[in-house]
Amino acid sequence: MKVHEKLLTHYLSCTSPVDKEGYLNKKKMRTATFQRRWFVLKANLLFYQERPADRHLLGVIVLEGCAVRCLAAEEQFAFSLVFGPGLKTYTFAAENRQAQESWVEALMSASHCYLSLLVKNLEREYEEAKQQHGCRAASSSSSALSLSMNRISLAVPGPSVDVREWRSFSASAVLQAPLASTKAATKKSPKLWSRRNAYVTPLNGPALPYGEWSMQEFSQLHDYYGQEVERVREEWLKSKRVEDDTSEEDLIDLG
């Protein structure tokens, strides 16, 4: 399959925002050795080259459909991108704990899928916020988005979603397995959800491609990723405790 390289390199070098960049050690699978590479994360693309100033791009990893995993101790401060059965696993090692955490968090929120869900949910929150707090400022924003949203929101009554309720679901679902069906009955059936989407998109037009995702699934996805972060933090805390313990053992035992 041809992936038009020029388009990728152009995107890398243009003025769109860099979401994260820095050195990481990348594991070469065949030899299990690590090579230091300069990585640039932009959108859902992870580019890498030998050095920051290099014009030659070594490669790119498209970050869709992968899970980010912290690795215990094979190599210090290591983490992986796992694409699933039959597909690749990329392993990296950062220079320190902070860099590891920072990269893991950045990569977890990098996918197009994730951003799409996030935008959809914010869109809904925005609509509700306007209804509740709404006409306070006759929106001084001259953005076309805002205007077309006003037009659309008038046309659709739609079920209103309680954001608080949704947030508490999110908090309580921390321990659930990702994307498993939950006890909480979906108030809004997927069918209803995508119908809402058809009316409430910012510009007049068809629903976004992932219109079938329900808000429940999003919360679960979020919590699933949130677990990764918690795990990283726990490991860090554990390693700190270990350090403290060993340092105590070093003291002279007077007992």
Binding site: M1, H4, K6, P17, D19, A43, E64, G65, A106, A207
Partner: protein
């Protein structure tokens, strides 16, 4: 340049609302229209030979300009080379409009701008940062300074 081809092929097989047989013409002089299965998945436009499982290619839909060429035809221009366009022939005007809209909205940068807009507005209306509940308020990619023109803000900045 290396890329995760197998994973991209797998991505191209994901369900998509925007997948159709269109006439497709490449950007070079002498390129002719060929019937392709064109499929939009995330911010990539995959194109397949009809009834083939693996795509011929994938176009990254960032920094590109999508334009209506005529009633049923649209084009995508990349690399600021306005003359080098990929041209797509649809079966109807409605289909053409649908594709143009979908491609524009598929861009990651477009979605990021939307997100920042909603974040700013929700904060302005409610005084709360809607990203806090997800624990991602500090992620660089969602910062207000990213690519959005300044909006009038009443209270403290995000």
């Amino acid at each position: 340049m290396r890329f995760n081809e197998k994973e991209m092929v797998s991505l191209s097989r994901q369900p998509s609302e925007m997948a159709a047989e269109l006439g497709m013409r490449g950007p070079k002089k002498g390129d002719v229209v060929k019937r392709r299965l064109v499929k939009l998945v995330v911010n990539f436009l995959f194109y397949f030979r009809i009834d083939e499982e693996e795509p011929i290619g994938a176009l990254l839909l960032e920094q590109c300009r999508v334009e209506k060429e005529d009633k049923q035809t649209f084009s995508i221009a990349f690399l600021d080379e306005a003359e080098r366009k990929y041209v797509f022939e649809c079966d109807s005007e409605d289909q053409c409009k649908e594709w143009i809209d979908a491609i524009i909205k598929a861009s990651y940068e477009f979605m990021r701008k939307n997100l920042i807009f909603y974040r700013t507005e929700i904060h302005r209306l409610t005084g709360k940062d809607p990203l806090e509940q997800y624990g991602i308020s500090d992620e660089a990619r969602f910062q207000v300074s990213n690519g959005l023109q300044a909006l009038p803000r009443e209270s403290s900045s995000l």
